[in-house]
């Protein structure tokens, strides 16, 4: 084999890196992540590059990965920052939307089963299944613990599907709902008091910590960030978490994940299987959320617009926006965005709980 032929896998990865950068810049698909991931994929695949090698010279990307990502520090800190950015008001005012967030984990379980059928180990299957939750940090957290060898493919799949939310979800939601259902207007939810918003993160941390302690690194940090936001006396800290700290972590995460996309590890059949399973998981999760919302309508007096079921996956706030866009196509005066934010944040908690259960029992 000639030198040129040996370089083909690296060249493919460099081309993939360029595609990510183009998707990020031109089409604005998750640019904050796809641009650093794409750039890191390019620089680690240039022949002779030692940035991602353990013994390499100036191996900054390896250091970022081994010190911050492989130790699960960055995913947990990202959850902390997300907590500082999240308003739990819609969820607290309408707690039944927790069930939509739970049902949207259907894709996680189906992909887990399918991955085992294909031949992945239960630990690997769990790390692939969690892609269906559409939660990047949780996917990285679980994969690092259970199947670190799949980290690059899983992370890329998770973030790719998050950026493809506006393309993947509408056909599923439209296929599962009728025009009348999409026109359902939901009543304005009640105002949630400051005291409730402060008690919520503390109470939920204690309850979830006792039930699924393995989920505490994610849920605990998420709710701690939210407590800083809602307490009203730590504004400086919550503003830092929302802005500068989150931005720093995003850069480190993008570079670290892009650094795992080295040709010999990434260009495998396994990667293609993971990407296919991830897509299927994502579709099933969307369907799970929509179907449970329809099911709830059989029993509740105040009907729920089933489109908010789309938002049961954790892609905050893209999936809630998708629900709003679909609803306003049928009725321009129908505003369900804030209602969709309830299942959206419930989905984040649901995916973290699912990851905790996998960690606890596998």
């Amino acid at each position: 084999m000639g030198a040129g032929e040996r370089m083909i896998p690296e060249l493919i990865m460099i081309a993939l890196g360029i595609v990510f950068i183009v998707l990020g810049i031109k089409y604005e698909m998750e640019p904050l992540l796809l641009v650093p991931i794409g750039f890191a994929a390019i620089i680690v695949n240039i022949p002779g590059s030692e940035l991602a090698l353990p013994e390499g010279i100036g191996n900054v990307i390896h250091w970022i990965f081994s010190t911050l990502i492989a130790t699960e520090v960055v995913p947990c800190l990202i959850f902390f920052c997300l907590g500082a950015m999240t308003d739990f008001g819609p969820l607290i005012s309408n707690p039944k939307t927790f069930l939509i967030g739970a049902a949207a984990q259907l894709g996680v379980v189906i992909a887990f089963v399918l991955a085992m059928v294909i031949g992945f180990t239960p630990a690997q299957a769990a790390s692939i299944g969690i892609i269906g939750g559409a939660d990047g940090p949780t996917t990285i957290f679980l994969t690092t613990s259970l199947a670190p060898e799949l980290l690059g493919a899983n992370a890329v799949a998770a973030y790719s599907y998050m950026s493809l939310v506006p393309l993947i979800q509408p056909p599923v939601a439209l296929a599962l709902t009728t025009e009348e259902e999409r026109k359902i207007r939901m009543k304005k939810f009640r105002e949630v008091g400051k005291r409730e918003k402060i008690i919520f993160p503390v109470l939920l941390t204690i309850v979830s910590g006792f039930i699924v302690p393995a989920a505490l690194p994610l849920i605990g940090m998420f709710l701690f960030g939210n407590l800083l936001r809602e307490s009203g006396v730590t504004e400086r800290l919550s503003k830092t978490a929302e802005n500068e700290f989150m931005n720093i972590l995003t850069i480190l995460l993008g570079l670290g994940i892009g650094g795992t996309m080295m040709a010999e590890a990434f260009l495998t059949v396994q990667t293609l299987e993971i990407i296919a399973l991830g897509a299927f998981a994502f579709v099933c999760s969307t369907a799970g959320g929509v179907l449970i919302a329809k099911f709830m309508n059989l029993f509740v007096k105040e009907k729920v617009n089933p489109l908010i079921g789309c938002a049961g996956v954790s892609a905050v706030p893209m999936s809630a926006r998708v629900a709003q866009t679909l609803a306003s196509r049928e009725d321009k005066q129908n505003y369900i965005l804030m209602h969709a934010m309830g299942p959206n944040v419930a989905g984040v908690i649901g995916t973290a709980i699912a990851a905790g259960l996998f960690l606890q029992f596998l």
Binding site: A102, F200, I353, F358
Partner: protein
Amino acid sequence: MNDYLFAFVCMLGVMAILGFFSLVIYASGIILSSSKGKDKGKEKGETEKGEIERGEEKKEAAVSEAGSRGAIGDSADEELKKVAAIAAVIAMAESGAQVKAKTPVSESRKNRGIRARYPSPWALVRE
């Protein structure tokens, strides 16, 4: 445990745990909203009581000030009563104006959903 059975149990587990969270939030919401109602009533009572007390304090201050002035003249007693009565009216009117300053000035504005941040100075003068 069989891995496939585990998958099923896992789904049920997530549903059960989030369903439980939902119940916890419902329960805490009910408890908090009932205590909030009590607090609101208590707060309203305290505000009204405070306004009455402030009116009384102003009245007392006006009376003592008028008393110190009146002591200079001969018909102190009559003067004192007159001044005290006027001071009490002014104090009550002032507390009323303060309360009104926080509410919309006119019904038409209120109907349009516009809250007036600052009442017109003329409204205060009229008060």
